[in-house]
Symmetry: D2
Subunit: 384 residues, 4 copies
């Protein structure tokens, strides 16, 4: 509350003939201004945070690509892609001949020396569904996708070994009922190996039908902001909101390892305080987030020890976990369903009915979806 | 953030022979310092907020009774009772002959002219269970309960038309396993009409066994702080915590109406962000808290309207409601289980699949218990 | 703390041949997200808040002009100008033929129907001082200033009845010692009526030499952000920071009235929690900000009234005023120098030594500069 | 952000014949709930924080002495004294025969094992001025001061080697004009070595006349809360307020060292965001609080270095320092008078006019009073 920090810009000035070239490099914002999204790694994998659907002035976005880099750095993301519309160029009066790699190039340069992976991307933008909008990322040259035919575009992406995902399949502009539906064309794209993932959360929307399509077709789960103006404004950072992101469980923090993870469906989605993904990754992610830091018997002075044990949990993630106790023991400190707030510590008293040296706590994590309407179940062994 | 308010004390000075009598009356704290607990009324009843289990220096508490009045005013409570231990007087070296009505008298005087009902009470304090500790409130003269025998004490309370409830029946000091159990003695108290209520939430403890005992025996549900030092410290007001309270659904805000409601089981308990009570009162309470302020069709410009409807809810309570969507429609904006934060507004997009002029939204309220492990179900009719 | 608000975008979609034209209109952010800058009007004039020095992608800024409009609306500004560099076009690879009016045109369109005045502007950008950088605002056609010679440019501006001010005259890039110095060329511009104002606060810099130059030459005082990336990041809104702005004392809220005020030196600057300006406007501004809402005699119960009077002030501005008591009375509640926080209420006890029905309080406002190192003196008549 | 921490009470239960003795020991509040007052040590001395004027139920206070200990621990105080009125016992109906050492004894026991020094004290309470109210601390037996005659009481205090100070000498109840005035009786007390200190800040009042009396008579400066109900409520902790305290510059943190410091006038007062004291201690205290952590030349890219140096200050105290730049250099980043917020970092750009390897910054600290209306002057040597 008391930190008023006076920052200074570093001004880079280059001379030209009769005018001054000024490049402003803003000093990295101090920590208090950041709103880091925090998740622990899981056994065997690093948990990387990515947002692979973002716009800039190079299509219908409202910022220069450098802003996207700064936003990502402030939130501690590990990877971004600038994915401007290939076919939709509303700023073309001012930006008449856009090289479709420019967003990437400018962002990449801005991120130089920073711990942020920037990958090249583009949005294939068709006015009708199918196929609607598709994002191709890990592109080598986005311009080669400039083509009226979506199928050809996807094949061009495949030639570049791109990872392609289906954007907002439930968007009411293209699906009046907001229900994602797999069409024969999408079926074909999948069968040809041209479509690898699907946005189950995009901007402010979650689609449980899309989630089911992903499960049924072995598509990678993607969550994206589809941001056009500013992340802070849209997701109300001040109030604790966050953009949708994809969590990628990668062997290391490199572009290649991330692509390998994406191609092998090792992702989860973090949307509106909810985790969505395969239980294979979600269960360890939640368990790593909720560490037991202490166990102790609740003592009643003047008597022998009680049969109630206090277990202290530390939530090391950014999620307010909504838990339902499904252990065989009831709790003394909480009703069966309760919330452990993000980045906080909470003591839970368990009525074990006898003096136990070890016992299991079981919780259903009501905001960790492993399938539509199906929740992650975690078991935590407590040892006194 | 910018409110630094300089308050002044009003000093009341009375003269005595050779010394000064000073009575300090602190000006009511400005609103920003308060942490009001907010709940709406329900049809037919006012929703009163009471804490009927509190201690002062007149037994083992650490404050003069006036502090309990100020705490209640700051939180916007409607009623309190000071219920010092009858048999336990650890401060007797300094307060040797305590009139058991003194806590009440001092608090009552402090509350004069304020919108707070103070009722006389006392805690019958037995070292063994049964009966353990019992609170008798609405007493006329607490001293008449000074007696070694609990049964006699309860009968003396009945003579004064008191309302008696069983305190912390799951307290590990008296129940090693923390499991509330109805004993023959409690059975007798109930049968004789001497015991009317039971704490199902006390201090930091919830007892689902006590909740079941209440249901099985038609006992009034009570939630209390059992505070000994300060509410703000114990319940971490700064972090948004709150003391357990009893919500009383009374015909009007008077002591008599409140007693009538208590004797007729018209209460609910607010504990640790959870409501607990009979669905007859809990369902309207939650529904009054979650008002629909707007419904609109989600539009996609350039096309006809969509089949998705946005419904705006305003949560006018102090509870962060954890909802599970059980409607026949899925949501576009949220996964099935989500939280509507206290005193906030949230828009929920519903996929009605066709253009409906009216439809029902159904939610299970996962932090509104109507029986152990059973949750309030609410249906909200949406009219476009 | 509890406001998590779920906003929705309104999507405007227009069809083109084989692609989709999407225009995103973000719903106006709810009030809690805004960081309004608040100042009262003064007798005879409206107090308008303007920032007339801002950059976009049309020179070396990092945002599309629409973002500048939204930033201004969130802060409650009354007027802005987009003033991209005429001669410095680092984005010209992507924006090759920029019409110098485009920033204005786009911002103007975005502000349509909003309570924000957008005026056309441009920055004359010379690599050497003199003249350094100059802003011309209220332009009709910025392209007509495209010219290598600064003097010619200023004359072209004059032909359009522009208001011209000297930017950051103390910028170390052009003044190694950071000391603003009036050169013969600036002298000439003033004499020819081509230069009307001077930035005494720009970005994170204040120049007391520039302030003196303004006084000596009857130049209008200007404070500007010179923003290139985002206001929220640079000025740490979360911590209560603010961008430098010009306060314009105008007869009404119109572009014409604002220009008339600027041409007649009716401005003040709000920089880093400090007001800077002519005492003719600063004194009434501070006095309107610090309203007396109550006066009362401090009473000592049981005795006659005291000779101490409590005066309650309400600071209705965004400035934390640092006051020095220069009244003939000393204070009982404060040491001579103290702060009245922005938008707060404070009671000040004055030792008047006898029972007065009326008396004067005098303060030097230590963060209201009326000349270099000279502070506003205010007298407030207190009537009981 | 700091979320909801579920704390548990530790219940200490002792058995008696037919009732339960319960002593509640609340677990030390976690750090986020504390509002530590922070000041650095100065060369040669530890800076101890004490509040030597506090009330409990043993006179007209509203809390048991244990609460005073917990309040002090939460604020990180080093020393407290409970100083109940000797002659004023409004609770005597309930506490009929108070041993005047009881407040001390109970507080001392509560503080056992904690890093808090509790010293015995009492308030000599006369209805008229002189002598008004006097606090005697470091008493061995407060009961020996029970006596109608103030002079005799002071002599009894001296026999116990007590430190005696004059309370709120400007209190309007006893000084209608609020002006502290040295009477012959006080003169006599000082001459006899019976009066050693004076409250220049008490509760919400500062007295510059008392400050002058202290200087003229070599009395120790004292600042006290004179708290009767709760510190958090009175001083609005949530808004960043604080109680008045005495800073004691002691050779070590012991009762004896503290007394030695008090008897040798090595104190300062912290009142309402202002430091008041002898410049001998205040100047090093402020200098220790405002550490230079970095100095660097402000660079303008593409040119040689500038003549502007950026100096980063870290304010390691709880005071928002109001500084006036009195260096021979003007600042580029600030107007001459500005605030460095408590516990924050700020960069100040200095226009040194040439490239200096070392130079002096001089500030008048406008909220550090070394005499009435006279302020601490600090000089900070900057070395590049």
């Amino acid at each position: 509350m008391k930190n008023k920090i006076n920052t200074r810009k570093l001004i880079t000035v280059l001379l030209t003939l009769n005018s001054v070239i000024i490049t402003e490099t803003t000093a990295q914002a101090p920590h208090s201004h950041k709103h880091d999204i925090e998740f622990p790694n899981i056994p065997g994998f690093k948990t990387l945070k990515g947002d692979f659907h973002q716009h800039t002035v190079f299509s219908d976005g409202q910022v220069w690509p450098t802003i996207r880099v700064e936003e990502a750095l402030r939130e501690g993301l590990d990877a971004i892609s600038i994915t401007d519309h290939l076919e939709y160029q509303p700023h073309k009066r001012d930006i008449p001949h856009p090289d479709r790699n420019r967003g990437y190039q400018i962002a990449k340069k801005k991120a130089k020396g920073k711990d942020l992976i920037v990958i090249n991307g583009a949005e294939i933008t068709k006015k009708v569904m199918p196929p609607g909008h598709l994002n191709a990322i890990f592109l080598k040259d986005a311009n080669k996708l400039l083509n009226d035919d979506a199928l050809s575009q996807c094949r061009a992406a495949k030639k570049q070994d791109a990872f392609v995902f289906w954007n907002h399949p439930s968007w009411v502009r293209q699906r009046k009922d907001g229900v994602a539906t797999l069409t024969p064309m999408h079926r074909q794209l999948i069968d040809e190996g041209l479509l690898h993932g699907i946005e189950i959360a995009s901007e402010s929307e979650y689609s449980e039908e899309a989630f089911q399509i992903a499960i049924d077709n072995n598509l990678t789960l993607i969550g994206s902001s589809d941001i056009h103006h500013l992340i802070a404004w849209k997701y109300h950072e001040k109030e604790g909101g966050h953009r949708p992101i994809t969590l990628i469980f990668a062997k290391e923090k490199t572009s290649e390892a991330m692509k390998e993870a994406l191609l092998n469906q090792r992702t989860a989605v973090y949307f509106n305080n909810t985790l969505i993904g395969n239980s294979e990754y979600l269960v360890p992610l939640v368990k790593q987030s909720l560490r037991v830091t202490k166990t102790e018997i609740v003592k009643a002075h003047g008597t022998k020890n009680s049969f109630v044990q206090a277990v202290t949990f530390k939530n090391e993630s950014d999620v307010d976990y909504i838990l339902e106790n499904t252990s065989k023991f009831s709790l003394q400190s909480h009703t069966p369903i309760f919330t452990i707030k993000a980045n906080s510590t909470m003591k839970i008293n368990v009525k074990t009915l006898e003096l136990l040296n070890t016992f299991d706590l079981k919780f259903t994590v009501l905001n960790a979806l492993v399938a539509p309407k199906k929740y992650a179940e975690i078991t935590i062994k407590i040892i006194r």
